[in-house]
């Protein structure tokens, strides 16, 4: 399955490095990545493939969220289908 990982918060050095290192640690493969910075507000979106995950979805999502908190940004991991359902007919 694929999930959308969003990182939002105040822009600073090393956010992408932190998120991608965490993903690699759990075997989550980054397929696509995009980011925007509006004023000082940072929004990064990663599409990750979770078939090779070394833990379960819950464990991965909770670890990512915790890592985000430690780094002062908000990280969310959600199944891509919620976005597909809402925004594609």
């Amino acid at each position: 399955m694929k999930a959308v990982l969003t990182v939002t918060g105040k822009d600073k050095v090393g956010i992408i490095a932190m998120a991608s290192t965490e993903c690699a640690k759990f075997g989550a493969n980054i397929i696509d990545i995009s980011q925007t910075v509006l004023k000082e507000y940072f929004a990064m979106i990663m599409l990750v493939e979770l078939d090779g995950l070394t833990t379960d979805f819950k464990g991965f999502a909770e670890s990512m969220e915790l890592k985000g908190k430690e780094s002062g940004v908000d990280i969310r991991v959600m199944h891509e289908d919620i976005f597909n359902s809402m925004h594609k007919i």
Partner: protein, 452 residues
């Protein structure tokens, strides 16, 4: 890849605008539990419910985690208990309420609905016994909801039942007087009750439903209010389109969760209920939507029109987003559960008469309204009769859930706690309707030609 703006819009809806799935409700038929031995009946009901729904809470929590959207309630609806325990005495029905309560506690669900009777044309012995049992059953349990259908467009209004329900509500209020008559918040009187409604307190599993089914109720007044605010001072066509678009998105999430929950539980998917269900939290209010349309305060002139537009647009947007739609589907206006409504009642702009008019164009009816504790049973029946007439004549569901708050009067506030919120006590008319209510019998079904 998905569009960044779309992804951030979804995140904002969930994080800042209180978008959630209000309920995943499993409907369970209890017909195969019927037994002439009351102890065996209780045992079979307990086994059927706890087996059928054993994974409900876990699956709902997994879905919350996977899709990142809160699922506020996990609930169960059952076949109207008056049909299942038809031979029981009122005491027997109270014992069944305790059995259902044990199921709720074992499974960890928020509510079980279906302690219900359908008496639109007349009451069977079982239905009459269940109605007698309601006050005690709701006092002695915490998670059981009760509903009584007293009228339908085809049958007319059973005024004997309307009279009786005034007395039952009054008695329930007295028995739960220590908690601001909270028992009445778990009891609804209906006209044209739907058989697949996932929302409490009126949920039941209709007789034409499959053995088990998953129904989902969506929410999201905050999302609609924010979209309208963003749309600014557009004309009505654009306003309606804005609501339709956002209702489509909200409902698609409901559809996704309903289909996924049904598949994981191995149960048929029933319907998505397209409802805007408010909560007492800031930014989760239907009144706020109406005010964002340009009303200084909900309840003022123009409110019924604004609500009619909202309700229609929500349905139009939602219908395309879901393969099966049902339940109550529309905007809810439960006063104690909506901060904007509470404020509007407090300042006197929103009155019972205006609320009654609003129910002619939206779903449900007079919902979660606190009335003075010394209101007579006949007056409560009068309120029910008025509201039920709107449903019967207009071929729609209407309902009454009023709480005569024991020991409190106009100017005071009833506190129900949690999602049930709090409500200022609303003033009623002083003149009696007792002679009208006491006539007895039925109001005939309305004619459906010569429409005016």
């Amino acid at each position: 890849m998905l569009n960044t703006t779309d992804i951030l819009e979804t995140i904002t809806m969930i994080r800042e605008e209180n978008l959630d799935i209000r309920t995943v409700t499993m409907g369970i038929s209890l017909f195969d539990c019927i037994s002439d031995d009351p102890a065996r009946l209780e045992e079979k009901i307990y086994d059927k419910i706890t087996t059928s729904a054993k994974n409900l809470v876990r699956v709902a929590e997994d879905l919350e985690r996977t899709y990142g959207i809160p699922i506020v309630n996990k609930r169960i609806s059952v076949t109207p208990i008056s049909l299942i325990g038809a031979g029981l005495s009122p005491d027997g029905f109270v014992r069944l309420a305790h059995t259902l309560e044990r199921c709720a506690s074992t499974l960890g669900v928020n509510f079980i609905g279906g302690f219900s009777a359908l008496v639109q044309k007349g009451a069977t012995k079982g239905a009459a016994s269940l109605i007698e049992a309601i006050p005690q059953a709701l006092t002695e349990t915490d998670h059981i909801c009760s509903s009584v259908n007293v009228a339908s467009t085809k049958a007319g209004i059973n005024m004997d039942a309307v009279k009786k329900m005034g007395e039952i509500i009054k008695e329930t209020a007295y028995l739960t007087r220590e908690e601001d008559s909270l028992g009445c918040a778990k009891l609804v009187v209906f006209a044209n009750i739907p058989e697949d409604n996932p929302f409490m307190a009126g949920a039941l599993h209709g007789i034409g439903e499959p053995d088990t089914v998953i129904n989902v109720g969506v929410s999201g007044p905050g999302v609609v209010a924010a979209a309208i605010k963003k749309a600014g001072s557009c004309d009505f066509s654009t306003l309606a389109d804005t609501v339709k678009k956002i209702a489509f998105k909200i409902t698609r999430v409901g559809q996704l969760i309903a289909a996924e929950a049904a598949s994981r539980l191995g149960v048929p998917y029933g319907i998505v209920d397209l409802s805007l269900a408010p909560t007492p939290a800031a930014g989760d209010s239907v009144a706020e939507i109406l005010e964002n349309m340009g009303l200084e305060r909900c309840g003022t002139h123009g409110t019924t029109a604004a609500l009619a537009l909202l309700n229609d647009a929500v349905k139009k947007g939602g219908v395309m987003a879901s393969s099966h739609v049902g339940g109550l589907s529309g905007a809810f206006i439960p006063v104690s559960e909506d901060r904007g409504m509470i404020d509007a009642v407090k300042c006197g702009t929103l009155t019972l008469e205006k609320l009654e008019a609003m129910t002619a164009v939206c779903s449900v009816g007079l919902d979660m309204i606190a009335i003075p504790g010394d209101t007579s049973a006949a007056t409560i029946s009068g309120i029910i009769a008025d509201e039920i007439s709107i449903g019967v004549v207009n071929t729609k569901t209407t309902a009454v859930r009023v709480i005569p708050v024991w020991g409190k009067g106009v100017g005071e506030v009833a506190e129900f706690g949690g999602l049930l919120g709090y409500a200022p006590i609303i003033p009623l008319k002083n003149e009696s309707c007792e002679a009208f209510i006491s006539r007895g019998g039925r109001i005939p079904a309305p004619i459906h030609s010569l429409k005016n």
